[in-house]
Subunit: 168 residues, 2 copies
DNA sequence: TGAAACTATTTTAGACTTGAAGTAATGCCG
DNA sequence: CGGCATTACTTCAAGTCTAAAATAGTTTCA
């Protein structure tokens, strides 16, 4: 969690219009700075509320969201891919969720290397409760932006992500 | 690092146009999902390159960036505010940077509670080298977006951040 | 068949992060 | 002066995360 690089340009207010002769070499840096700051602010606030209201962490919530969406049992490897985190990370998260009785681990008979994970009844109930609150929080946090702005931002972010992913 | 919530809507391709009667209750969720995925992808890649090329972590780089920008010695508390992280976090980061000989800690005579930090000569030299590479990487990662797109995205992100910060 | 390659997961070491509690110096004010 | 709140920083416990090594099961193919 970081990224306050900004090796030079100040926060210029206004619509940052110029678009002058040679493009500002620090413009992408400012873009990244804002992307990071925004993402971080949202993540931090959601994290705080989840902790305060449900004694839950964001990573665990995200893992449960994948399980809820999947409907069926999912392997650890698949979870790792969907959450975009390492295998070892998923192992630990699942361990803790199992301790809390929110998910279940089952070894597959078909391939004894792999195990699947699914929500318990308790886990599913809790998740639905949290998900509803979570959806409301997200909508609230972005509520200064109107529909078209949110749409435009969403589209640009999709393009940005594609740009990044293509170069990783 | 997470957030793969997405409790329902698939990744609709195209420009997500509809804009129908009652606004999709999951639209903000999709926006947040994309924001997070993009930020995370960039952060991960910058982190990897920084580690590979300079044996440096992003948090330490960010801290050094603040010191470079500040020009003068900065107190730990000020660093904490600028990096938007807790005090305890800064203490540890500075400890490790001091071990590496990249920054210096000085107790202030005026107020013996507080200490200031500044880059060493080595630290400053290394930072400038890293910052140049870093700027290039960021520009590269976003290079699929043209100037106006980057500008538009940057502006929307500023609005989004303001929206979030106003509600935290 | 059996060795080598591959796949799925766990383990480990190291770093980062937070929130809460602890320590120490300073400032306020009766 | 002297107690008390405040401020600055450190310490601590718990959780998250990664990269790399280890473990174990499966597949391939000579």
């Amino acid at each position: 969690m970081d990224q306050i690089v900004d090796t030079s340009p100040g926060e210029r207010r206004g619509d940052d219009p110029p678009g002058e002769a040679h493009p500002d070499a620090t413009a992408p840096l400012r873009l990244w700075l804002r992307l990071f700051a925004t993402s971080n602010a949202v993540e931090g606030e959601l994290s705080r509320r989840l902790r305060a209201e449900f004694a839950m962490t964001l990573p665990r919530f995200d893992l449960m969201a994948q399980l809820d969406k999947a409907d069926n049992a999912v392997t650890l490897g698949e979870l790792s891919r969907r959450l975009m985190v390492t295998n070892g990370n998923v192992t630990g998260l699942v361990d803790r969720l199992v301790e809390d009785g929110l998910v279940e681990r089952k070894v597959r008979r078909a391939d004894r290397r792999s195990a699947t994970v699914c929500l318990t009844a308790d886990g599913r109930a809790l998740f639905h409760e949290m998900a509803e609150a979570h959806r409301g929080w997200v909508a609230e946090l972005f509520s200064s932006l109107d529909e078209p702005q949110q749409q435009a931002l969403s589209n640009l972010l999709r393009d940005a992500r594609d740009s990044v992913v293509a170069r990783v």
